[in-house]
Structure formats: C-alpha cells, structure tokens
Symmetry: D2
Subunit: 363 residues, 4 copies
C-alpha cells in the first residue's frame, strides 16, 4: 500500500532513479477515454530535466510505453501500466556516497529502516519517481477537462526570496523555463539562478496550483476530506515541507468576518476557503500552495557520518537541480488533478453523478 495513491482511482508507482526503469499502474480509470503515449510524453517533457540550464542536466527521452489498459487508442477500464526505461543514468557518479549519508537526504533513513539501500542516484527517494505522477496526471487531466470541464494550472510563486506571481498572466507560465506567470520577472530569475549556480548553493520554492470548474460536492466528511487528501498528495512529493489550502497560514491572524466567504445569489464573494468547506468542494477554484525545501545535494562541503558512524565531509557531485521547486510545477498539477478525479469517482460511487441534487428544504 505504501507506493499507491488514491481511493478508487489508484496509482501505484515503482522504480529507482538508476534502476532499469520506472513505471506505474493506474487502476480504476474510466473506460472509453482516448489517450496516446505521445500525449503523456508531451506532459512528461514539461517536467523533464535537461530543459534548461536551471535544472539537472540529466537528459531522459521519457519514451513512455503504454503496456496495458489501452486498446485501439482508448482506455478499456483495466489497469493502465506505463513504463519508461532509464537511459541516461550515470551510476558511477554516486559511488562515493554509497557508504555516506548525505545531509538532508533519505540516505540515513532508508539505511536505518531497511538495513540496506540502493544508493545510486537516491534510488527510490529520487525525484525521478515523480515522472510517473506526471504521466498518470496526464490521463487525469484529460478526463477532467474533456468530461467535466475542470482545468488545472500550476505556477512558480516564489523562489528563494524572489516572489514571482505578483502579476499573473496564465499564458506566460509555459513560455518560460520557470513556470513563472509574470513574464517581466523572467530575466531577473535567470540572473538569480546564475548567481545561485555559481555559489554552489540551492534554494527553496513556493509552488501554487489552482483547479477551476470543480463541481460542488467532491470530498467527504472527516478523514477523506478533499483538502485532507490534497495535503497528503502534496506532502508526498519529494522535498515538500508545507501545504496550504486557500488562505492557509494567513488564516491564523485573520478575523472571522474577514475569512468567511460570504454568499450572494451570484456566488461566493471571496475564496479564503480555497474552494473547500468541511472537506467538500464548494464549486469555487481549489487553491493549493506548496513549500519546497532547497535541494540538499550540494557541491559545498557538509558534515556527516558514514555508515560506521565516523564523521566525514561530504560533497555531492552528480547532476542536481539547484531548485527542485521549478520542475515541481507539473508534479503539483498532476497530484491536484489525480486527487480531484479520485474524489469525483468516489462521489459518483456514493451519490451518483454530480449535478443539481434535488434540494430538500426543511420546513
């Protein structure tokens, strides 16, 4: 169960960074949806490394294969298996760290949990796994858009101390390597990243995403709340340390009169709720914000211990992103889309399809 996500639409991923392949199995996806490997690949390329100087120079072709669950171009209702062989894994880069625990990495915890670990490129703890989330998310996004009119968009909101979304032009997001919605900020970000790269250090990032067109009624009380499942989905992404829905931590210092979203016959007057009340979607946009920590793979030396407990100084070579948050935008989108589709299907199980329920007016 530990490598599966979702309640009725489940995605199980497998694979290590430098193993033969990564893949996933998508179970419970509705039948009859047109999908091609090319569509999935185009989504994967948005996340892919090697796209700019600002991300890891590992270059995967992301030649995704559909192994099952699709027949004559349409989903059949049986499990959809996707596979990508790892082609540009350079394991020799990592031989030095086999017996050392990189600070801020899962080396230490995997070693102590399992007694052994696949140290090549971070093994299972590598962000390589997230490619399969994006692949599965491509199917979810297609269903949501075509069948329900739900659209999901993510963007880089902040990198280090650089806020990026004070102006918001959705058309700009995919036209720059930062997923930055403010095209005027791009040159500054280029500059910022160059200086960062030179320094050898890394920074964190804030990624935001929004789903529009979400029908009212998705989610469930108490433990299968839409926002609860979103929090788990986002926190399950590598390097994430915080999740907000709607007003998030700003709610702490808000007054009730300020936070509550008043309702008029024309709809809600504001959206501090982030599209979720009592764990159930309101029909407003679902808004999430996700905090990514700075990459811990640094060429600046750090103190650590080896597997014998002896102190060592460590420098991480290999190819790494100075800011993992940049490439995380499509991953956040994918997890948002998968969670919403899962809850749409779960809602359909209990309540039938969405739509105007017969109102019942107490007398």
């Amino acid at each position: 169960m530990s490598n599966s996500f979702g309640r009725v639409l489940t995605v199980t991923t497998f694979g290590e960074s430098h193993g033969p392949a990564i893949g996933c199995v998508i179970d419970g996806f509705p039948p009859g949806i047109e999908i091609s490997a090319e569509e999935i690949r185009s989504e994967l390329m948005r996340r892919a490394t090697g796209q700019s100087r600002h991300t890891s120079q590992r270059r995967e072709q992301e030649d995704v294969q559909i192994l099952s669950g699709v027949f004559e171009g349409r989903t059949t209702g049986t499990p959809i298996a996707l596979l990508i062989y790892n082609t540009d894994a350079r394991s020799k880069d990592y031989s030095r760290i086999a017996a050392q625990f990189r600070p801020g990495h899962a080396d230490y915890t995997y070693h102590h949990k399992y007694g052994l670990r696949d140290y090549r490129g971070g093994g299972r703890s590598s962000a390589r796994e997230t490619a399969m989330r994006v692949a599965a998310g491509a199917l979810a996004r297609k269903y949501l858009k075509d069948r329900l009119g739900v659209e999901v968009v993510g963007w880089l909101a902040q990198i280090g101390d650089q806020v990026c979304d004070e102006r918001f032009d959705p058309a700009a997001i995919d036209s720059n390597p930062f997923f930055c919605p403010d095209p005027e900020r791009v040159p500054e970000l280029e500059d910022f990243m160059k200086r960062l790269w030179k320094s050898g250090d890394s920074v964190g990032a804030l990624v935001k995403a929004r789903a529009t067109g979400v029908p009212v009624g998705l989610g469930a009380p108490v433990y299968a709340k839409l926002d609860g499942d979103l929090a788990a989905a986002m926190m399950s992404i590598n390097a994430v340390k915080g999740v907000e829905i709607g007003a998030g931590f700003a709610s702490v210092s808000q007054k009730g009169t300020e936070h509550r979203d008043e309702i008029t016959p024309a709809g809600f007057e504001s959206n501090h709720a982030g599209g979720v009340l009592g764990g159930i979607s309101t029909g407003q946009p679902v808004d999430v914000a996700v905090a990514f920590k700075p990459t811990s793979s640094l060429r600046l030396p750090g103190r650590t211990v080896d597997v014998r407990g002896e102190p060592v100084e460590i420098i991480t070579t290999g190819r790494h992103d100075p800011c993992v948050g940049i490439r995380a935008v499509p991953i956040v989108e994918a997890m948002l889309a998968l969670t919403i589709l899962d809850h749409y299907l779960l809602h359909r199980a209990q309540c039938g399809d969405v739509g105007p329920q017969e109102p019942r007016i107490p007398t």
Copy 2:
C-alpha cells in the same frame, strides 16, 4: 472508508453534534495494553468545552463508555468501541439556520453533495467529532509512552496576531486554559480573548506539536510517507487550512546549506527536517505546525443565501468558540500520536520491530 483513518491501526468515527451519540471503533490496536474509561475521559476533558470562558459553553460530561475490545482492563486485540452520549445538545438553537447556509461552514457543501443535511449544530461537520480522535489518541499515547518511550506534546503558538511561544515552558502548557507554553503571556491572552468576545468576531490560531523519542525508520517511501500521512491527519481536523513539517514554509527562502541538517557522530546538528527525511523518521523530534482558520459562527451578521438561493442576512447564535484553535491542541496531539503509532505498526509488518538493523556496508 471516508470516516476511517489509519493504515493498519484504523479509527472509524461516527456521530453528529446533536445526534444521540458520538463514537469510534479502533481496529488493529495491540493486545495486552491496560486502559480504563477514566484514563480516556481525563484526556477528553482537556479538549472539552465549557472549561473556560474562552471556549464554547456547551458542557459535555464526556462519560465515555468502552463497549468492546477491553477485557478485565486490558485490550484484547479485537476492535475497541468507544461511545459518548450527547447530553447537552440544544437543538432548538439551530432551527433558524436549517434553510440557510452559514458562510464559512459546511452547510452549503453538505447540502449540495448529499441533497439533505442534519443541520443541528453542524451535524457531522461539527468539531464534536474530534472528541473521538482525542479518545482514540489517548490509547495511542499510552502505547507510545509505555512501550516505545515516545511522548507527544502540543501547544498554542499563536492566536490572531498574538505569538504565544517565544518562551517555552512545557510544564506551563496544561496549567492555563490556552495551552500556552509561556505563562507570562496568559494575562494578555485573557485580555485579548475578552476583547474578541465583546467584538463578536473570531480569530485563527497556530498550533504546534512535537513527538520525541520517535525511533528512526517509521514511514515509507512515496505515498505512505510519515509526513504525508501527518499532513492528511492534520488537514482532516476541522478548520485547518495549512500544515508544516519542520521548517515548513520558511524552507522556501532558505539556502540548502542552511536547511540541510548536518550530522556528526553525536547526531543531527539541527532539525529543519522536522524529524522526517524521505518520508521516514530520522529519530529526531517530529515537528508539525497547523493553521486554524477563525470560527465562522459569528453573531455579527453576514450575507448568504438560503436553500432556495434567495439572499438573506445570517447571525449565528448557539454556543461557539471564538477561537477553535485553542481547543484543538489535544486534537493535534491525538492525530500526531495516532499517525506515529500507525506507522510503527506498519513498519513492524514489513521490517520487524524497530531497533538496530544489521548494518550493511557497501564495499
């Protein structure tokens, strides 16, 4: 599944605010643990309403009954059912809002999801449900403390714009009605709450919690991450809008050299990770922070619509907390304890008991 929490230790809760009773079923709890209704009740009273002027004046006796799973004072391994009859529910208070949607409440979403709702006191969406989390958490905390030496403590870190934990005296937390760790701040908080009450408005709160003594190795890669499950656990609490692990959103503007927790033979040098790396516990304290929105039940009028879509002005009478975050401290503790125990049991399934795994040193 929507009302169950946990992977191998599952807690299923039921009950509405003004229904006959609330209760829970705890399944998978280890056998042989001594527990009494009185122990659970004493934990419940920490969360209980009516304890001070600063929380709702509903006074429940919290006379919890153990209906099953305990024999001669010890758990038997079979499901433990706990039940509390609602004794101080005043349903007449709520009759006016039966046909109206209170802004910031689940009224609107429940109505549209299910086509009908139990409007008395918020029904299932009421914080009344959280009493059962605290009850189940009492068992988890007992096991963790007695068998593993894990202790869980939560506190109020901020209420509105009032930061409460700049000084931190753990002994002070349970000696004031705010769960405030800084005893000198208590008079100011009293004052703050009095003014708030007079104003008719409400505020949000920041609650923090820490688990110490957590063994290294709890958690799992990818989707059953300890921090992922913690995020879901916290976001499932009523009124929560944000969750952080360790450095949380501060990670965004941190440098990698600052964030990464260096390791020496004496242990980690810092804990920005919040005790979790790669989804697995490091052995350091597990640190979470949780943002609560301000209560939306206000006696200050607000605009909304009724079930026919007609605009109305709404005033919420009934008994409500001006800051739900205060009473949430034991709930956050309970969810932290339950998540850690669940992951301890899950770890035991795959890897056997915790403890020094035979190290395997690559050569």
Copy 3:
C-alpha cells in the same frame, strides 16, 4: 482493517458476545434512503435466537439504536452507527471454560494470537457479531430493492443428511423456523432436530442464496471479482467451511459443452456460471451455496488441553444451537446483499451508473 468489510460501502463491526454491546458503522451508504430502527429490528428478529426450540435459548430483544447518519428518517450520507446492548448475556455459564480450549472453537487460536482472550460466550468469535451483519444488510437490501429492483433470498438447502430444497416454494421459507423452502419437509426436520437435541450432538448445514435482478456489469477483473468478494464475505461468517458460485464443485466433473451457458437473443440458456463470468455479473441470478460446520459447543464430553497444556475433558454448557446453519440464512442473505451493493457503488465510481452502455462494435 480486520473488522471492516467492503470496498466503497464499508461495514465495521465491534462487540463481544457478553460485553456491554455490539454495534457497527456503515460508511459510504447513499444519502436520502428512508430507514427506521423498526425495519432493521424486524430483519434482526429473523436471525434472532430464542425463536424456536431448535436454536439457542438466548433471548435478545435486538433493540437496535440508530446513533448517527439518519436524520428525520432518511440517511444523510454520513456514517450510520447501529448499536444493540447485550441484555441476556449470562457470563457465569462460561466460567469453567476460561482456562480451557474448546475443541473446534477459536479459544485456542485467540489465546495464542493475542496472549489473552475474552472467554465469555466466545467473546468476539461468537456468532453474536453476525447480528450486525444482518442489521447492515437490512439497509443494503432496502436500497437494492427500492432503487435497483434487486431481491435477495436465502434458504436452508440441507441439514446433516437431510436435503430440504428438492421442492422450492419461496413463500414457504419465512413461514417455518428452518427457512426451509419445502413446507412438507418441515415435520421431518422438526423430528430430526428433536432427535439431534436428545443425542447431545450437532450437525452441519448447507445454506443457499440467490440475488435476482442484479444488473449486468457489477464486479471487476482479477482481484475485486464479484465472486471473489462473495467468497470472502461468505467464508467470513462463523462456521463456514466452503463456498460455491453457480455449479460450484459440480463443475469439476462437468464437460465444457455442459457447463458453458449458451446465449440466445432471449438470454442465457442456463446458469452454471451462477450469474458471474470473469468476475462480473451477467444479469442472471447470482447463486451462492455455503457450507456450515456442525457446532462445536457440545454437552458430549471431548478431549482438550487447558492453557497450561494439561489434558482435560470438556463439556460445553451454556446455550448453543445444535445447528448454527439454520440461523445463518439471514446472515448469508445480508452478506450477499452487502457485496452486491458495494459492487454496484464501485461500478458507479468507474463507469457511471448501470444501464445500456453505448455498444462499440469492432469493424
């Protein structure tokens, strides 16, 4: 998870035979269904003990309480908790067997699994738990009948060597204490049971059940097969040792030409499949047969050991059924109904509601 049943419609039961109460939580049930405690109770009384000389003389009133999930007589979509206090439990009857393992009972296995056991009346392993299955089943049956036109009927097919259903009059089933569909066999069964009672021995039974009106398409490939889930459902009933779907074990010696159910424009020509092909319902009646072992609680002495491993002779006093299979008929019906409703809801999640799917004809 061990005490929960179902995939999207989950039933979690709790309670011991001689504990304070038994109960269940039904999660995922559709909203808007009318249900009353009296309706559930009338179903419970069919299963209840004390109804005839042929079953245990324990007399429970089965005063079931609906604690949650129902508001103004209709289900709300939130978890439905049902509770029955145990009123006629005579624990003193069982004191002698506290330290002994009754052959054929769960005493031995519970003791060795958990290190302790609630020995009063079999504790959790008692058939008392099955009352809650019947209670939950009452809701499932109501939904199936009212919304889908599915009807479930069970009967006693054989008791010991007495075959009971060579003639089949469905109207007779509920008019005799044996759930026997052949009214002419009833006097012989009375006689058979009298002799059995005198002898102090017990016998097994064969119970059959059929669901009619099941739409085509319920079930799923491979591991969530409708028949796979039915097998688990039936085998989870106390004392069950075998389950058949359709032709069952007779399939072993059938020829393919005999077993396969040919299809004509008017429908299937036979139903050896028992209404399930490839794990998915065909639209024909779903047929199950369930083998119950003879009760092991006998007043005839048997050899066993005590908890110290010392040999002892055991005689089980207390009140017991000489044939548990008789009372099991409503339980089998309940498990059949719950499984079908669960799969209907699961189907609705993935494929939308049942009904004529747009056919897609390969060219």
Copy 4:
C-alpha cells in the same frame, strides 16, 4: 484497488493476454531477501504453457525482468516490479470473435461493463494474468520457507471424473505434467486427456493445496479471517467456482463430535478445521480445495449472440487448454503462499513477531 491483492503485502497486476506485456508490482515485501530473475522464472516455467500436449501450445519464454526493488541481488523494501513481454501472442487467431460473445467467457460481461473490450486472447480476463501471481508467489514462497519454515504444496486431486490423489506421493507431483501425486495414475490420465482432446470437449478439475509449518496465530477475527482471505484469493483465479477449507462441504453432513478436532498435549487429533479456527491459524496444516470449471473455449460449436444481439454459432479456435485446472496448481500454491505471508506480516503489525506469547491464565 480492483487489480490489487493483499492487505500489507500488496500485489498489483496488469496486462492483457495479447498486449505488449504483463507485469506486477509487489509492495510491502520485507527487505534483505535474496532473489533472482532466474528463481522466479523457474517457478513460472512450472505454470507455463507449451510444456506438454495437455496444455495450450502457446510458448512463452517467461523472460521475467526485475525492474525495481532489488539491489545487488537483495530486496530493498521498495516496490518490486516484474515484467514479461508477450512474445508468442497470435492476435489474428481471435479476429473472428471480436464481435461475438463466447459462452462461458467474460466477453459478454466486459463488453457490458466497460462498453468496449480488448478481445485479443481474452484480454485482461485471460489466464495469462496468472503468470504474475506465480511470479509474486515465488518471492512469498522463498520468504516463507527460508524465514518461517513454511512450505506450500499443491496437486491435482481430480480431473473430470478421474480422482488422482487416492495415493499421495509428494515427490511425484513435479515429475509428471499433471501435478498428480499418484504416479501410477499418470498413464490413465494421459489416455483420458487424449480422448478428451479428440472429442473437442473440456473438463473441470479439483486442485488441492496445503501449507505446512504455518505458525499459530495468523489471521484475524471477522472480516480479515485467514480463511476468508484464502477464499477470496482462490475465487479470484480464473475459472474457479468453489473453495473449501478443511472438511469443506463434507462438514454439512458431519456430526459435531466427528468434526471437532480434539486436542491432546501432543496436539490436535485431526484436522477437519483445515488449520483455521475462528479465522486464525491453529498451527496445523492449512488445507484448501479449489474447483475449476471446464474451459469454455471449445472447437465444438455453441450458440451465442453477437454484439448486435443477433444469434450466431461460435467455434473457438486459437490455442486453449482442454483443462485449465492442470496448469492452475502453481497458481493455487502462489495464492496460498501470498495470503499466508500477508497475514504473517499483518500479525507482526498488531502483535509483534510470532512465537510463544506470554500466556495469561485467568484465575
């Protein structure tokens, strides 16, 4: 969830008979176990087709790849993905049945559930899927044998009207193509199969399996019973119509004094229980019997309808087993092994490792 099996050790399979590949993901397997692709392949070859004249002539090389979860020859605790490319699929054989429903097959139900189907070789409903169960079972069997001393053996007990296990020589089972434990019966079975082949018809089979060395205490009350999960596991195998544990359907006509397994200081005197009491293992051998229906793919013509509902006569060409039960022996073994290992791990979660629990003697 529909394509996953297991509670804490989950196996998710994917793939169609004539798609590019079949595979599985094994999640929750303990770390540190030595395993090689060659070991898995040797188990697969026992199930493989093309081994004798009596089974389908499809010849797969079963070149299984380990894609993840194994590092330097040992399991790492992360998900183990196994993959086999389909090399000998001849899709053209099936073109005629694309628009017709073969009686006794899942064609009809898949079509009506999903609105479309992959008709090549039965698609997902083909027994090809079971290869992955055997592959996953190979890992389970290795763990059980090496760590717990549990051994699993299956055999053909009956084929058509031919009983095969009146004499039982375990050494003979793997030395003949029938998995028959009575070597003297083999020539007769050869003869029987030859005549069957000539006739164009098929027969059913009875497969039995036994696990020895199972520790006492595996399983759980009520819905996660060891026998309940075994029933689901067996019924999930293609073509299975019945499952028995221990005495099975013979229990119906047994007396209680005959069925109950008396206990002496030397152990149980019999094993009608089949190694399970109250859903929990007794420490005796776990005995299951599984009924397989005759193959429905026959070259003898049968009546059916096409997707337009028009009557047609159908003849199934392609390569098919005249008795699927023969090849099912390793599949039954695999499902038995997987279920026992899953329950061993689940037991370890709640109760810690197996072994002498501290006895608690009531006074």
